[in-house]
């Protein structure tokens, strides 16, 4: 496949067929550049917007078909990963709720996932410091449990991406919450080995309960995941033995969903 991100074309018809994607960044967000590239490749018209502009009402969520909270260390992860980002976003909480209710897709990657949980757009648990006690970067495998129905995970069976986080250990509120998430098909992806089997560290790289790597909401239009699909969207990004560009699927799914 081509690694060359197609440049947004400017003819009007073309623009209309490309849903507008909002990459919402905060101070310390650092995966916005590659997330913008991935969304562009997936067919979206992408705008990267600073949190403060959204809060100052210089930009309206209703103008977008898709919102992504990218990875990074918003506000330095101070007071907990994603905590201050989520706290600031509470000011536009109603608009976000409306966005989600309208069944438009919301993606939270890594730090974005942490913020979505803190915001309550995803529920059932939290993300705690890794069991290893430190940040860790490595390529991992995930598999989609059979009962997942979110269109954001369409045509994914097993998929490889890198992780890069210090606080990615999913901790369920309690055993019942975890079981509920699993039964309802809201555990979007679980860590596994190259063959799809469960395992301890480093297969489950952070010690997550139920090997949870990704969660969706009940409606299936909000997806949060710790691994980074935007780091595996083009040739050469995946190491030996993994499918190059596999992460792009999540973005093309999101764009398709945004088109309605």
């Amino acid at each position: 496949m081509s690694a060359i991100a197609s440049r947004p074309r400017t003819t009007l018809a073309r623009v209309r067929s490309r849903p507008r994607a909002l990459v919402l960044r905060a101070p310390g967000t650092n995966c916005n550049r590659e997330t913008v590239i991935a969304l562009g490749m997936a067919g979206a018209e992408v705008e990267s917007v600073h949190l403060e502009r959204l809060l100052a009402a210089a930009c309206d969520l209703d103008d977008f078909g898709l919102v992504v909270l990218p990875g990074g260390f918003s506000f330095g992860d101070h007071l907990g990963a994603g905590a201050l980002w989520a706290h600031r976003l509470e000011a536009v909480g109603e608009a976000l709720d409306r966005f989600v209710e309208s069944r438009r897709p919301v993606l939270g990657i890594c730090n974005g996932f942490q913020a979505l949980l803190r915001l309550g757009l995803l529920t059932g648990g939290g993300l705690a410091p890794n069991a290893s006690g430190h940040f860790e970067c490595r390529w991992i495998w995930m598999r989609r449990p059979d009962n997942v129905r979110s269109p954001l995970l369409d045509s994914i069976d097993r998929i490889a991406m890198p992780i890069g986080h210090g606080e990615g250990r999913f901790v369920a509120k309690d055993a019942a919450s975890l079981a509920g998430l699993q039964v309802r098909g809201e555990v979007g992806l679980v860590y596994c080995d190259a063959l799809g089997n469960p395992g301890g560290y480093p297969v489950n790289p952070n010690g997550s309960n139920g090997a949870v790597a990704a969660l969706t909401n009940a409606g299936g239009n909000v997806l949060g995941l710790m691994p980074h699909p935007e780091r595996n969207v083009s040739a050469g990004q995946a190491p030996a033995g993994r499918e190059d560009g596999a992460g792009l699927t999540i973005f093309t799914n999101a764009v398709r969903m945004a088109r309605g």
């Binding site: 690694a3 650092n30 007071l79 705690a128 940040f135």
Partner: protein, 965 residues
Amino acid sequence: MSADAVWALEVVPHDQDVDPHARALRQILCDLGTHPAGVAHGRLYLVAGPQSPRLHAAVRDLCVDPVIAKPGSVAPPSADDWLIEILPHPGVTDAEGDSLGQALARDGFPGLRARAGHRYHLHGILPPSVVASAARRLAHAVVESVAWRPVSCPVDLDWWRQAFMPDASPDPTVETIPLRGLDATALQDLGARKLLSLPLQDLEAVRDHFAAQDRDPTDVELETIAQTWSEHCAHRTFKATIRHREPGAGELEIEGLLKTTIMAATAEVNRPWVLSAFRDNAGVIAFDRDHEISFKVETHNHPSALEPFGGANTGVGGVVRDVLGVSAEPIANTDVLCFGPLDTPAETLPPGTLPPERVYTGVVAGIADYGNKMGIPTVNGATLFDEGYVANPLVFCGTVGLAPRGRHPTQPQTGDLIVVAGGRAGRDGIHGATFSSDVLGVSHAELGSVVQIGDPIVEKRLADALPRGRDLGLYNAITDCGAGGLSSAVGEMASDLGADVELTLVPLKYDGLRPWEIWLSESQERMVLAVPLESWPALQEIFAGEGVEATAIGRFTGDGRLRVRYEGAVVADLDCEFLHDGMPPRQLESVWASRRVESSPGLPAGIDLGELLERAIRDANVASKEPIVRQYDHEVQGRTVGKPFVGPADIGPADAAVLRPVARSWRGIAVGCGVNPWYGEIDPYAMALLAVDEALRNVVAVGADPARTAVLDNFCWGNPNLPDRLGGLVRAAQGCHDAAVALRLPFISGKDSLFNEYRLADGSSRPIPGTLLISAIGVVPDTRRISSMFLKRPGNAVYLVGLTGHDLGGSLVQRLLGIQESRAPVMRLASARRVFGAIHRAQRKGLIQACHDLSEGGLAVAAAEMAIAGGHGLEIDVGAVPVAEPELADSTRLFAESPTRFLVEVTPADAPALERLLGRTPHARIGRVLDSPHLQVRSEGEVVIDANIETLRSRWQSPLTEVAR
């Protein structure tokens, strides 16, 4: 002391088993021989100001995620329990506390201050002395205070209050320093008292300069001169006139070591794609028609010795700013670390020295924290262990930048505003430049103010804003604010034009700094820009949009004077010419006495080669660095196409990293390094040749074009005022020149860190092993054709390219066996370039399946690494190794560290084409990839090594993994 009420909230994670702080305390108590019934850790947040239940609810809401942690104390306190609390010293950067204060202000609680610390609970009966020892081990004394008390004892509120900077008023005090009439002794006395780190000759020049004007300097003036003339800022040693003697080889007068060796090589090599060398904050090469790549490597050794986390953290921050200072966006970081052996017994540590394990842990965490948070992938590096680094660890930090070509402005104009952007100034880091220009002594460990703590998010905001200012052409010059603070940054920028600065405009973290302190503060995350008046509003808007504080503090005047004011009154008025060119040229003496013995004893006959291989791969210098490197994000930005770890199990140590900087192009860059201080113990000249060769080997092994590769030098050396230390430095610089010219490699940037010595209590001084790091950056024509070092397929042929000689001097195995050698490995300068060219041509033709350079541990270690990484066995015939000298023992063929050698895997079908291509380049087919998991080495048909690669893998992986536990 602030009279504010202070309230504290403790936030205790539910899962104490995996809390790293609780784990660290358990380990410390275990080391102290006690095992309390329970240990718990929580974050401690202090809020000072008017208190109310509403405020406390808001703090709880902000700080507690109930799924992960709970507010308040852990266990029901028992009377026997102890509490340990750790808080940052007042004035020390506490980004998390600042964030809490800012969040509260937004939530309607203005005017509060917050600090973040830690609280530990120790449950069970413990003697107070054990608690005290544990407390002292937990705190980093340079930046943190610690207190402990029985749970039953109420907190002393003054202890909490002291974490806040006491209220202070602005302090306009400017002292005039009477220099006129001071004699030599009095001058030296004064220099020592004021920590100026200037030699007598310089102090006399300053005295005479002011005497000619009938006045004495102010403290602002004297400090400015001391910073500007410091070794750190002015590189006096590398510019000095050196009388160099080598007994038996005569005498040589060197008019500037840098100019006559390293810069001379760049001129001789004369590569048109070198866009900027030794002129700016970083070296710059052309990448393609539209883009340029910059690279800079810095050291942060002294600060890391005192406070490993903060020192390494701000080391990364500093070198990233160098790349921002050439108007580039940082796209990769590198780090090379030198530590004492991790098992160094505590009782052998020199006084005031932190244990190497603590330095190691702190430095790695500090690098990870800054690079990861800024979103810069850390892609390449090395970690070395030697007793010589126990008191003086070395921390080299590098940053690669990407920028559109030719968009970096470098000429401030008369009338331009002087703008400082980023963090605020505090007392942190005052005297950093002069401090690092002096020998580390026991008393320096007390100087907390020289250590800074970083706030990577502030720098990230700057990095987000600056490229837009560049693209819109809104500034005429930019530089980073590093050692020497504004005095250096503004001073350098204004060296031609002159400037007029008002210090009361400089944003401060807190009041109470004297004018000279504001001027010298080395508070982190600041850039200085020259901004035309008409561009200022647009640039301000960009900065404001990213939440960057930016302030105009003065103008470039064009009158050639550096004028500094405080509330309008002139507190410094210096002639720029004197400031930058008035330092007396330094005259230095150097001597190099080579060791005489030329014959080599080789390795003992009959030594068990398999056992030697096992020892070699589990030496900390060779062993897998995965426990370190995995803590760094090497994937962020999505550009890393050549990973630090390769192979099916992601464990193979790549020779170099490959990045694809521009998403629309297949073109790449490879980043690698070469460093080996042990050769330098024999001959620094040879060390330099070999380091340049190793750096080039590493990048060529992955696919860089040797004709499009540039190098950087970083010298870490002892006291250059001592002729024997300087003699080695001269030899090393000469080696850099000769290697660069022979390999046609331009040096584009460099930095030296001298005075890496530790003064012992008895007054004697111990230098580090003279250490030269060469970093290489090379263009990879097509990233679809990069090579990796892991074995790919059984049945493939393995070739050794390059000659092996009697090159055991300074080698890993000789160190392991305690053998002294007097000849360092010999670099064949005349033929080396042909080898690199041939490897690169073979890569471009797609003939190479795997490629690995031979370095420490020679052929045996390289072969073992390829096998471990690929999970395939390998059979080697040592008899087939191409040799440079006759009668080379098997042990020498296997473990010699001859330079310019590669192991290359090739399919049987491509083997003839490879052989044709290699032609007269020394090479031989020495083995093949096996189906079975064995590394088998044969000599005249007999098996001399038969090692299971799984066993080798676990030996190679375990040393640093065990430390991590």
